[in-house]
Symmetry: C2
DNA sequence: AAGAATATTTAGGTTAGTCTAAAAAATGTT
DNA sequence: AACATTTTTTAGACTAACCTAAATATTCTT
């Protein structure tokens, strides 16, 4: 027997996706204010929505205690994440968008409802494992491969790795990386970390540059040697 | 100077598209009830929306007199139609959907807002002139080529033509055509029209069959000889 | 352990888009 | 022209998703 598919509103989907991301990031109960700031809404609106999601068994919510996704909530969130990332792949690979242009459009496309559509899109793209920002794409069962990566800031001086992900995939940050000629797949060597402000001297195959501690926190490297 | 782009809600876009289609079909003021039945809502809801669209200068509306699109309203409707039909092309040509499976998904995709997206999609599809149901696709300026066609019902007995469009592109009707092995591009000859019930005997390259008057009204042929 | 500061919830309101029921206008019929 | 029928509009209500302001709970500081 297959569970009949239930539809959720765009607002509900956005809250679930947001709670999922915050759970991943913090690993514990997610607070009302944290959700409010991420979703750019007011705490009172969040409280309203948490009650609704709780009534639908998508989250476990007790007053003043924060929320957690239920199994059902996580599945739903992952379906939205899968759609978001697949559409981002489509936009970059098939329509020649730049990696800094796709997020807003994917925010809309992720709410299109059709399982057949998303599975056909997945096949059309040849079942990509990561999106244009290096984030893993859940398969139709919600499973994904999370590759082990290290923040540039946590690298040992002299070590190097391949740039495989960014924590912040907002337009401005990605445009900054474009300007500095940094892209996913680049080999990066950490030359030095300034003790005073944690800024990092790095070297790529083509150039050297200094990045701020803030930037160094947002770049993930793989295959450290 | 370029007119700044104004966003409309999905509901507003759906009403505009509906009014556009009814204007095309009837060539005069569109009535409240007609809109209500097409959009599957109540006449009172339509009246509410007409007031709103009128306030935004998208339609000309006078109580009890029906509505007409303004220039601005028609442009907006055509933008939605363009998106709907381009997405239908994408679904059929790139994702291997059948022509009877795409309408519902396109109803969702037509509301995705991004001019760049739709122009890139248009280019990716090599600027198609018609959608999978034979309907013309407006270009980015709202212009489209409307090819002259004749309903099967209006053909002279013995004449023939190429099936280039269907009036009804609902799933059930298209599935009926699939079952009867009729597809766009097929050459069809009208063998006889039964005077009693207007049913039509037709012949294709591969078979002969009888279609009801209802079906004969919904099939358009081009290139009659 | 009390008071201050912060976080969260509640109460009450707004808007978009829908609905039903009733009123009013337009149209059709004798 | 009067009455009946149909169409359209108005009035009033509902829900989802948001808001502000006020109340309450929790957490931090001394
Ligand atoms: Mn994104
Ligand atoms: Mn991404
Ligand atoms: Mn369609
Ligand atoms: Mn179509």
């Amino acid at each position: 027997m297959q569970s009949s598919i239930v539809l959720y509103s765009q607002a509900e989907e956005n809250y679930l996706k947001c709670i999922y991301a915050l759970e991943m990031e913090h690993g514990e109960e997610v607070s009302t204010n944290l959700i409010a700031s991420k979703i750019k809404t007011k705490a009172s609106s969040v409280t309203d929505m948490l009650k609704k999601l709780s009534a639908k068994n998508l989250v476990v919510y007790k007053k003043y205690q924060g929320v957690r996704l239920t199994e059902r909530g996580r599945e739903t969130a992952l379906r939205v994440v899968r759609k978001h990332r697949l559409w981002e792949c489509f936009l970059v690979q098939k329509l020649d968008f730049k990696w800094d242009e796709v997020h807003e459009i994917a925010e809309q496309l992720e709410h299109i409802e059709s399982d057949l559509l998303i599975d056909k899109l997945d096949a059309f793209l040849r079942f990509p494992k990561t999106d244009p920002h290096g984030d893993p794409i859940p398969d139709k069962h919600g499973r994904m491969v999370i590759s082990k990566t290290v923040r540039v800031l946590d690298m040992r001086i002299g070590s190097s790795g391949i740039l495989t992900g960014v924590k912040d995939s907002s337009g401005p940050f990605l445009k900054y990386l474009n300007k500095k000629n940094l892209a996913l797949g680049d080999k990066i060597k950490v030359i030095d970390i300034e003790p005073y402000d944690q800024s990092v001297h790095i070297e790529t195959r083509t150039h050297r540059l200094v990045i701020s501690n803030n930037v160094a926190e947002n770049l993930y490297l793989r295959n450290v040697k």
